[in-house]
Structures are given as C-alpha cells and as structure tokens.
Amino acid sequence: MTINESANRVVLMTRGLRKSYGPVRALRGVDLEVRQGEIFGFLGPNGAGKTTTIRCLLDLIRPDGGTVRVLGIDPQADPVAVQARCGYLPGELRLNDNMTAERQLRFLSDMRGGTVDWGFTRELAERLDLAMGRPIKNLSKGNKQKIGVVQALMHRPDLLLLDEPTAGLDPLMQREVLGLIEEARADGATVFFSSHVISEVQAVADRVAMIRQGEIVEVAETWSLIDRALRHVSIEFKRPIGPDALSGLPGVIVLSWSDRTRVDLQVKGDMEGLINALSGLPVRDLETSKPSLEEVFVRAYEKS
C-alpha cells in the first residue's frame, strides 16, 4: 500500500448516526470520516454528543440508527475485533481504587490476553511520571488520568479513541500526552480525540469536526478553518493618505480610520491583494492577528 492509499483509507466512518436517551436526542445523524494516520479532533461543548459518539464506536451503547464502521468492522457485529485494535480513554475514567497503578495496568493487560509489551508500558509510565506502586485511591485526579492514558496506549493500538485525554493534567503533562499522541500517529496509529480545550486540538489535530446538539456543524482541516476565518489587520502610515486608498480591495473590509494615518481592517482569505495595494503607500507599521481556532469555534457555534 502506498502512502497515498494509506492516507485515503477510511478507518472510522459514521453515517446518519442517531441515538436518543428517552426524550433527549443525543445524536441526530452524525456523519464522520477519519482517514488512516490522521489526528482528528472532535470539538464540542459539554453535552454536544462527543462521548455518545465515541461510545457508539466501541459498542458500549447501541445507536438507534445509522451506520458505523471502525477499521472496516461493524462494532455491533464484531465488537471484540474492534476493541482488540483500539485504545480507549473514557471521559469519566473510573479505576479500581483498591489496586495499585501497576496492578490495575497488569489486570488490563491480562484483559488483552497478554499481548501488551510490559517494557513499553513501563516506559509510558515513566514518561508520565506515574507512581506505579501507589494505591489508586491515594492518587490525584491527574495521576489517575495518567493511568488512563497509559492503558490506552500500552498495546500500540491501530486506532486511539480518546475522550478528553488531557483532562486533569498539569500543563507539562498535557504537553507530554500530546507528544505521545503525535508519536502514536508517527508509529502508524490513527487518533480520534474529543476535547473542549481548543488550543490542544489546534496544536495536534490535522482535521477537526465540530458537533453541536448531536449534529456536525463543520468538518475541515484545522489550518483551513483558521485561514478561512477573518483576520484583523492594523496599518499605521507615515503621513495621512486618501480615504479611498484601500477601498474596493477583494476580501478587505475597512473597519475604522484614525486621523487618516491609522486604519483597522478585516481580511478574508489570503493577504496578497492588500499587500499589493500597500506597496505604493507610506507604511510605518503593520500588525496582523490570526484568529485562534477558539474564535473560529465560537463563531461557528454562533452562526449555527
């Protein structure tokens, strides 16, 4: 299989996925496609349907309608085959408080039929600075989360399904976990992770899907979402210039002028037209601020 074939292979697909809890419609026809080897961010506020979607993928809950394929397998038809190749970190991780971290991980390793490389597990634990010998009941939320991350990665899964992977971790450990996710991808894994921490999605995700009230609002490459958004540009001139100097440029909206020497603009798309127009003008300074994914996210939600 060539690199392109591999990248185009869909490892996770949902079509019209629906799920209700009594009168609450948690998923209202979710369509998703995640390609092999990509890190796919799943964004949405609390209660949007992120966890419900992930739990349908692992056959923990049964959808009311729609189609699901994970690694080419229908999880309802052969859940064990899917689960054997996936690493899962639940959003609400609960462990056996009476076990030590090591015993819990050994138990979970046994549940995988002894296919786990214990040396790799130890390596993961060391990188996350996880105290393996302490009882779980004495561990902080962040340390429990580290056990969750280790157990999801320890068998080198083909597909990682992570529900809020950095929840409860300090910034250093968040960075380490994001590093582990990128390493897993480099080793050939596909990563599907939900989050409402937009900065971390922006940092690692190739593509993102935004979900709101059980419906996908947008699916796009992370960079294109940001590039498509309006950017803010402030220009200061050495001397006053004519009011029409920057009008009529494609994708440029003049927000305000100040003493004819300073202008604030909004630019949609690329900056080429604006830069060409500025080439003949006495520019003293130019500031441009790229919108964060967070702004894009908020705008997308406001629009929908």
Binding site: L60, Q83, P90, E92, L93, R94, L108, D110, M111, G113
Partner: protein, 284 residues
C-alpha cells in the same frame, strides 16, 4: 472469560472467607450443642411444645421432629441458612455487573476485547464459585466436630443439605442479577430480590398453617428447599428444578446484558422513597 472469572473470584475472596466462616461458626456451635440438647431433651421439648405453631413453622418443623437429627439441624441451621446465605447472593448478584457499571468502571472494562458473553459468564461463574466456596467452608464447620458428637451423620451425608442450599443461593443470586439488568439501579434490584427472598421464606414457612398460602408458596423458591430432610436423601426433582430456574434466570439476564447500553458513572442512582425531613434550624 477465564481472566474475568479469576479476577472476580479474587475480588470476592473476602466475602467467601467472611460468609464461609460465619456459616462454619454456626456448625461449630450447633454440633457440640446437640449432645447438650439431647441430655436436656425432655425439658427442651416441653418448652418448644408451648411455642405457638406459627413460631415453629418459621423454623421448619414441629416439636416431635426436633428429637431427630434432621429435625434438630433443620430447625436450628438449615431452615434459616437460605436467608442468611441469600443475603450474600442478593448483594453479590445485584452488583455482579451493575456495581462496576454504576461506578463507571465497566465503561473501561467493556471496551477491552472481551465479549459481553465472556464478561457476563465469567462473572456469573465466579459467583457460583464463591457460593460453592462459602458452602464448602460452612460444610467444613458442620463436619469438624462431628467425631466428638453423638449425631449419627457422616461427613458425606452432612454435605447433602448444602446442595439444596447452594441451589437456593444460585436462584436468589440469578434473580438479583436479572433484576439488576432490568431495573434502573442496583440498589433497587437488590431491594426487590431481597424482598422476594424474605417473602418466599415467610410465605413458604407459614403455608403449612394456611392452605391459601400454600397455593402462593408453590411459586416461591423456598417452598422447594429441603433443609435438614436432605440428610435422609435428596429430593432430586426440587434440586434440579431450582438449578434449572437459576440457569433460566441467568440466561435471561445474559440476553438482556447483550442488548442493553452500558451505563456510565452517575447513571442509575436510586434511593428508597423514604421521605426526608429538613432539619430545622434554630433562629434567635
């Protein structure tokens, strides 16, 4: 399934030892007490004959049968053991899957490559193993001092009443397990199964005094419990019937578990509907 079985048995070892030693202690007290009882038999029988018949009915016998080995053991031990061990069955059966489910642990475990059938039957077999362990410890307690007693019962013969007891335990455990799959909360399942168990004991015990109760009792598990009479030979029809009921309840529970959603932490909370009164605060 074997990993699940092993881990569940391991987590139940405290219960096995605790309940097993409790039942064994009953035997260790009752067996030596038999000789005292026989020495004072006349006084005991006179005292018991003055008890109301309803009281004797609860202990599965009449005054005359007390003088026999099976009557003595039946009245003082085996009439109540289904309820005592049944408490274990209801607690463990209702929590076999629902406990981990309500705490949120099952959300992780069920995402591992173990089929739901493997998870279900692994844990169910562990429950059977735990029940066997408790009753084996109990049997050891009942046989340990047999040699020094005038009770005319051998080691093997003493095992016979423990078989109907095992069947009762499995029926109540399987009922609690099924209810935990059907009802929204483990606590509710335990309460209903416990209620059925106590009602079964009362109604079956009293059915000898009232024919109308006998009609109802024949639908209840305790009605088919042999108790001390098993020392004279097993009622195979009742024993196998109870085991078949336990098996059928387990299959229904499994069928339901295969088809339902795994709940997450926080779902399925239920408390008995006991009104709570707000504490009044004294104001100056």
């Amino acid at each position: 399934m074997w990993i699940t079985l092993r881990c569940t048995l391991s987590s139940l070892r405290g219960q096995i030892i605790g309940w097993g030693l409790g039942v064994a202690a009953l035997g260790l007290i009752l067996i030596p007490f038999y000789d005292v009882f026989m020495a004072e038999q006349a006084d005991f029988l006179e005292m018991v004959e003055n008890y109301p018949p309803e009281f004797l009915a609860f202990f599965g016998g009449d005054a005359a049968s007390l003088a026999t080995t099976e009557g003595y053991l039946g009245m003082y031990a085996f009439s109540m053991l289904p309820v005592i061990v049944g408490i274990f069955a209801v607690i463990v059966g209702s929590g076999l899957l629902a406990s981990d489910e309500e705490s949120g642990r099952l959300d992780l475990i069920a995402a591992y490559p173990v089929s739901r059938a493997g998870l279900f039957w692994g844990r169910s077999l562990a429950f059977v193993g735990a029940s066997l362990g408790i009753l084996t410890l109990g049997w050891l307690g009942f046989t340990a001092l047999l040699g020094g007693s005038s009770l005319d019962v051998g080691w093997g013969q003493m095992a016979l009443p423990f078989l109907p007891l095992l069947a009762q335990t499995l029926v109540y455990g399987a009922l609690a397990l099924l209810l935990s799959m059907l009802l929204p909360a483990r606590r509710l399942a335990g309460a209903v199964a416990g209620g059925v168990m106590v009602a079964s004991y009362f109604l079956s015990s009293m059915s000898g005094l009232d024919e109308r109760l006998a009609t109802v009792a024949q639908f209840l598990p305790y009605h088919y419990f042999q108790g001390g009479d098993a020392l004279n030979g097993l009622d195979w029809a009742s024993l196998l019937g109870l085991l078949a009921v336990a098996g059928a309840l387990s299959v229904l529970a499994w069928w339901r578990f295969e088809r339902r959603d795994i709940r997450v932490a926080g779902e399925g909370d239920w408390r008995p509907p006991i009104p709570r009164f707000a504490r009044r605060t004294e104001t100056a």
